[in-house]
Amino acid sequence: MSAAWSRVPDLLAQHLLLSFSALLVGLLVSLGLIIWSARSATVARIALGFASLVQTIPSLALLALFYPILLWMRSIVGDGLPALGFLPSLLALSLYAILPILRNGVTGLANLDPAVREAADGVGMTPRQRLLMVEAPLVAPVLMAGIRTSAVWVIGAATLSTTVGQPSLGDLIFTGLQTQNWTLVLAGCIASALFALGVDALLGLAEHGIRVRRRWMAFGSLGVLLAGVLIALVPMLPTGQKTVVIGAKGFSEQFILARMIGHRLEAQGYHVEYREGLGSAVVFGALTSNDIDVYVDYSGTVWTNYMHREDVPPRPEIVEGVRQWAASQHGVTMLGALGFENTYAFAMRGDDAARRGITRISDLRAVAPEMALGTDLEFLERPEWAAVERAYRLKFRDARPYNPTFMYRAIASGKADVITAFSSDGRIAAQHLKVLEDDRGAIPGYDAILLIAPKHADDAAFATALKPLIGAIPVDAMRQANYMVDREADKKSPEFAARWLEDRLGLTP
């Protein structure tokens, strides 16, 4: 329990800085649009229409959309532009923040007593004076109500920024969901809800202060918010330590390996941050752009997804091919293979496979039309699935993606008959699943490989720190560690499993 809460302060600080920055940008844009809208009904219509449209885009999709947009912009303005992390989150959330502020501002101005405007003109105010001395103070309470709504929305939506590599309280929720650690999920939910309520209450106090003309009330509550920002900024101060960011995709093995990498780098005096839950398509781009420093990928993933290869040579050739391609095309260093493979393994319930006499994927062909396939969230979109379909001509009754944890549940409950299990997963043995032989060699090897960002290409100390992991992790040890985190009872954290694995393999830094 306390382990879950111990991560809250750091993540809360990040969450606060992100959501306040987005709110500030959203506020400035909205104020500009409100002033412009006050002069032109056409502008008001277009601005409100656009803001409403943005609101209909799911916030997760909005965040995801900024990744390709920024990648594209990078091809114009150069590699200095980060496509992951703070910037895409800030842009998406700022857009999200606009509607309530804009709508309240525009309607607030439209509902102002025309006599007050006439009086302002009549006493000889310039349009600017009228705005600052009359319109702004009168619209302020309504505007403040919009800012409050906006703040609550943005703080809630900011939990999703985890998916584009920006740490937030969403890290707890996503990691908890992935590893079925409900304490972690609750910690994330409660922390972000309390944060939203607190900010709303303070802004409410400021709003009340403006309404009843108590300046100390308005400035006092805004002061508390400012103090929060300053406290959140403290960890950002340069500590003299070198910071490295370790990436991880969204499953337990990745969380554990990221921790093992982190432990070694911490022992070398680095300050370590984790970006967890990154999608396969995003994570390699993040490494090549130096947004993350190091992560573990799988040779077959790089081979088929990034190199677009359709041939399936033996495992060592794939690893070597990836090494050369990564170095020559992206300046990425492949330090080596960790020693185990995590391939896509077509698996069935053991008794079901025995009853139907199925041992190979090609045996599935006749029975596939009456079977349901369960996959992880990405598989059906990946070239590996196309390769399997080409090689075996399988037509399943139903093919459905699941979150990995739920995929294993689906096969246990009979909702799925075949799943694309991970060969290093402890649940294959625990659930008595039968792994089917890839008899036509459609699926490439998936050796776990350690990839290092271009900026560390000539960093011998960095490589030396991680070298002991190469070739050091046998698949059965990895399976046990994975199972510790994935099993239903006596669940361990990825941190615990990483320590256990280091202990067992003599890798304690």
Partner: protein, 260 residues
């Protein structure tokens, strides 16, 4: 009360002044006339006769389609609207006090726009002029009655010592008792400060009792231009007579009631 040496208002002249709206409606059609400095002129007419439009072209709240307005010797178009308005007092039916400012801040707004900060004495003096207690300066507009608010409106219009006062139905929203007392107060201020005052009203009785000169407007034209005495004597023409007939008839009936 210490008032400036310049105690005379400015003259106002209209030269073929017209206002036509894009739809083709003519609000004011080629009006030419002069208003002498120091006079109190009432502009009377039914709704839609163009009287408010004519008034608002003086302080450029409405810009004319053709012709020009001159104050003193200066065409109003020569001055930026905000600078022009700071030299002209403006009071209108809906008052338009700034609800987020105190009475004192409302009264002093014109002074503040000129960059004056020490306005306390002047505010007290102006409140006294419109017969409100000095401690009203600290109140908010919402705490005042309608008549008190319009007195504040008048004080605000007078704060910068304008020579010209424009009033658009200033008593339109007030009850009869308040109308009467505020009307008398305004006439007294006009005389005391030597202003030029142009007041728009639809109430002929009010115009006859307060003004030196009454202009009757109909369909964008001045159809009568006479003193109250001339109008009452039936020298204002047909349309003016129709308007004068109503209060005259009322007065006769009231007198008849008294006589019984």
């Amino acid at each position: 009360m210490p008032e400036p040496a310049r105690s005379l208002g400015q003259s106002v002249a209209f030269d073929r002044l017209s206002k036509t709206y894009p739809g083709g409606t003519t609000a004011v059609g080629s009006v030419t006339l002069e208003i002498a400095a120091g006079s109190f002129v009432a502009l009377v007419g039914a709704s839609g006769s163009g009287k408010s439009t004519l008034l608002k072209m003086i302080n450029r709240l409405i810009d004319p389609s053709d012709g020009m307005v001159t104050i003193g010797d200066t065409p109003v178009g020569d001055t930026p609207p905000y600078a022009l308005r700071r030299r002209i007092g403006y009071v209108f039916q809906n008052i338009g006090l700034f609800p987020h400012m105190t009475v004192g801040e409302n009264v002093a707004i014109g002074l503040r726009l000129r960059g004056e900060s020490d306005t306390g004495d002047r505010v007290a003096e102006l409140l006294d002029l419109v017969e409100l207690p000095a401690d009203f300066a600290g109140r908010m507009p919402e705490q005042l009655s309608g008549g008190q608010r319009q007195r504040v409106g008048v004080a605000r219009a007078l704060a910068t010592r304008p020579g010209l006062m424009l009033m658009d139905e200033p008593f339109g929203a007030l009850d009869p008792v308040t109308r009467d007392s505020l009307g008398n107060a305004i006439r007294a201020i006009h005389d005391r400060l030597g202003l030029t005052t142009i007041m728009v009203t639809h109430d002929m009785a009010e115009a006859l009792l307060l003004a030196d000169r009454v202009l009757v407007m109909s369909a964008g034209q001045i159809v009568a231009d006479a003193t109250p005495q001339e109008l009452v004597a039936g020298k204002g023409g047909e349309e003016a007579d129709a308007l004068v007939a109503i209060p005259r008839e009322q007065a006769h009936r009231l007198a008849a009631l008294e006589g019984k």
